[in-house]
């Protein structure tokens, strides 16, 4: 399959791995930002192919995971409102709020529907004028343009029965927050390829200058990720810190101007709570006043939402790269994808869920490489 097979080519991967081994002389802790990258790394076992001195830690870039609990509880309250059709991407349906998840609400009679695009939700609003159709608009900068398009379409068509519960989050502020935090271990980042396809990477240049930390904008296939690691390691070995673009087939320095303009027109920057991490100033997007008729947060008064996270969950430390899923005493025991305790287990792309799905349990797993003494040199 074109555009996939060449980026999964075992020969190319082997060449890059050889090169990584040849240039690595010191330990490196590299964080991949995106949940999609984490998923690919664990699925293809890429971290286990790297030299032992290179540690990949898993970042906060799974939008489903980091959506604040109060936003999810608010979504659930709206979904239970009479005459509401609550629409969402599939993977938000299982994310537990304080009391339930959307699948549970659907089973008890709420009209919850999976859509593949926010524009599908707009079409439902057109088709069912007596219903109030709400779309759950979460995600990073990547999903914002499509959501912006839906808002613009709804406004243009004067669909007063369409609204969006928007809770977008932004990557550069969370990278800064990780680098500022006490005890930070992250020495370099594999930057978010899809996010930068929209935003470009100018914002990352100021991060690199300020924190002297390399960022390599990286794709999602095995060869992309290994090449991203190689470029990062080369910077660390040479004492450099610049923004580099591994994902040239998807990312332009200025991103996608049309998409950016759309987002700018409909959304504005706001402070945002991140599940597992906490409040980060200016780290999110909310719907602009001009689009308030379509802002579910303004339209639906669901009262005060009181939330409670489980105290034993260490997802905050995992999202900052301080710990790995297997370091958590609850991982695979009290905390599984069926009974998630926190952010990183709730979505398939969360680090804990990815580890769990691919059998990486505490105390090792059947697919783990043999101990170092038996590994071929």
């Amino acid at each position: 399959m074109k555009y996939v097979d060449e980026y999964r080519d075992p020969e190319v991967a082997r060449c890059i791995l050889d090169r990584i081994r040849a240039v690595t002389t010191r330990p490196a802790v590299i964080m991949e930002v995106c949940g999609g990258q984490t998923h690919s790394i664990v699925r293809h076992g890429l971290d286990r192919l790297l030299p032992e001195s290179i540690e990949l830690v898993h970042g906060p870039g799974c939008p489903v995971c980091v959506t604040a609990l109060e936003t999810i509880d608010r979504a659930h309250a709206i979904a239970q409102t009479p005459d509401v059709v609550f629409t969402s991407f599939g993977d938000m349906l299982r994310v537990p709020g304080s009391r339930d998840d959307l699948l549970g609400l659907k089973a008890r009679g709420a009209d919850v529907r999976v859509v593949y695009s926010p524009l599908d939700a707009v079409r439902i609003a057109e088709r069912e004028p007596k219903k109030r159709v709400v779309f759950f608009g979460i995600g990073f900068e990547t999903t914002a343009p499509a959501n912006a398009m839906a808002l613009r379409e709804a406004k243009r068509k004067k669909l007063t029965n369409f609204s969006m519960l928007a809770s977008h989050v932004l990557v550069p502020p969370v990278i800064a927050s990780i680098l500022q935090a006490e005890g930070n271990r992250v020495m370099a980042f594999l930057g978010p390829g899809h996010v930068c396809a929209v935003t470009g990477y100018r914002a990352y240049e100021s991060l690199v200058r300020r924190y002297k930390t390399p960022i390599v904008i990286t794709g999602f296939e095995p060869v992309d990720i290994l090449e991203g690691v190689l470029m990062t390691v080369l910077q660390l070995e040479r004492g450099r810190a610049v923004v580099e673009n591994q994902y040239v087939r998807g990312v332009q320095p200025e991103g996608n101007p049309i998409a950016r303009e759309l987002v700018e027109e409909t959304f504005e920057v706001t402070d945002r709570n991140w599940r597992g991490i906490g409040a980060i100033p200016k780290s999110g997007l909310r719907i602009r006043w001009e689009y308030r008729e379509h802002d579910a947060e303004r339209i639906f008064d669901v009262g005060d939402v009181v939330t409670q996270e489980r105290p034993e969950c260490i997802s905050g430390q995992i999202l900052r790269g301080r710990k790995k899923p297997c370091d958590c005493p609850a991982f695979g025991k009290e905390c599984t994808p069926r009974t998630p305790l926190g952010a990183t287990m709730v979505s398939a792309e969360g680090a804990c869920a990815a580890y769990y799905a691919h059998g990486r349990r505490r105390g090792g797993d059947a697919a783990a490489p043999p101990p170092p003494s038996r590994r071929p040199s």
Binding site: R43, T142, P222, A348, A357, D365
Partner: protein, 359 residues
């Protein structure tokens, strides 16, 4: 045939019309079609019986009596609730016939007879029912397995999803054929009869109105011919499964965990059509977990693996059969995928039906 479906013997006379004329005055299922009254009789006499045309069914007795020759009886049942009922490559009727035949076939049984029970929702278009019946008839004819008994119930509007079908089937397992997951042994080769994931992706794309391009069609097909060819060439086969819901991953994980064996799978060897791969990439699904309706997985002793593979490939339904893995003593209960990159990962079941990811 249960009493709900038996006709009033005077019905045809009273109505005074010959089959298969359309049912008078109605173009949708109404509650009366499920009653013991005249409408129910009309539905059976004018629509169902003419569509399925076989003498045992036409007797309309409370039961079908079927002659069985030597061997053990295999018996299976399955219900079909697929949405949409018509999808590229098949429909609910064909699926119901093939699905039940396949459950018998992978046990080494020669299918003998099927039952067919409908649960129809009030308001379901009779034209669609006619289309489903035609498809049931064609599938049963193609497979050479008659529908010998049946039932129809009607539920009120909103209590169903148009049409549900239950089919049961009996078959005969010839002497000497011993198949079952209990016979799977370390060292067995794992074969798959063709590319995976086509049914699940075709239905999903059709249900959600996704325009994914390519030619995505369900693989629904009866497997008993392919099974017969395989067992003729290689009676030593230990077990077979048709990997329907949950895909090949669910089948392999179930056998590994229930039989306490490990299974190593070579990811690169698993045949997947590029259309299906592309759709899965776009939707964030793993084709290993996507349903199949016309594929089988066979566990074959190593020394017979080549013969079995050749037999599968010689059959029109098995041209793209492949050996995908090996049963092992290592890591009992666990399926391990070996990636083309040289790494390994554990394959485990998701807790829920896979849903497309956000990005």
């Amino acid at each position: 045939m249960s009493s709900e479906l038996r006709s009033d013997p005077r019905a045809a006379e009273v109505i005074g019309a010959a089959c298969p004329l359309p049912i008078r005055e109605r173009d949708v299922v109404v509650l009366g079609h499920g009653s013991g009254g005249r409408l129910g009789a009309e539905l059976v006499e004018r629509l169902i019986l003419p569509s399925l045309a076989n003498p045992t069914l036409a007797e309309l007795d409370d039961q079908a009596v079927v002659e069985l020759e030597g061997g053990r009886v295999a018996f299976t049942t399955d219900s079909f609730v697929v949405t949409p009922i018509f999808f590229p490559g098949g429909d609910i009727g064909e699926l119901a016939v093939n699905g039940t035949i396949n459950d018998l076939a992978v046990g080494g049984a020669r299918p003998i007879a099927l039952s067919l029970a409908f649960i129809l929702e009030e308001g379901f278009p009779l034209a669609d029912l006619r289309r489903v019946l035609a498809s049931v008839h064609a599938a049963a004819n193609r497979a050479g397995v008659p529908i010998v008994t049946g039932d129809t119930k009607v539920v009120g509007n909103g209590s169903g999803d148009g049409i549900f079908i239950n089919t049961s089937g009996i078959g005969v397992v010839p002497p000497g054929i011993e198949l079952g997951s209990a016979r799977v042994r370390p060292g067995d080769a794992v074969l798959v009869s063709g590319p995976i994931g086509e049914h699940g992706i075709a239905v999903l794309a059709s249900r959600e109105g996704l325009e994914l391009g390519g030619d995505l069609r369900s693989d629904t097909a009866p497997l008993h011919g392919l099974v017969h060819a395989l067992l003729e060439a290689c009676p030593a086969v230990h077990a077979m499964r048709d990997p329907t819901r949950g895909g090949i991953a669910a089948t392999l994980v179930e056998i590994a965990s229930r039989r306490s064996v490990g299974i190593d799978v070579d990811e690169a060897a698993v045949p997947i059509q590029s259309d299906v791969r592309g759709a899965c990439e776009i939707l964030g699904l793993d084709p290993w977990f996507v349903a199949n309706e016309g594929r089988l997985i066979a566990f074959v002793p190593e020394e017979h693996a080549e013969t079995a593979l050749a037999a599968l490939r010689a059959h029109p339904q098995g041209r793209r059969a492949a050996r995908i893995g090996t049963v092992t003593r290592e890591h009992p209960g666990v399926v391990v995928a070996h990636t083309p990159l040289g790494s390994k990962r554990v394959v485990d079941l998701p807790f829920h039906e896979p849903l497309p990811r956000i990005c």
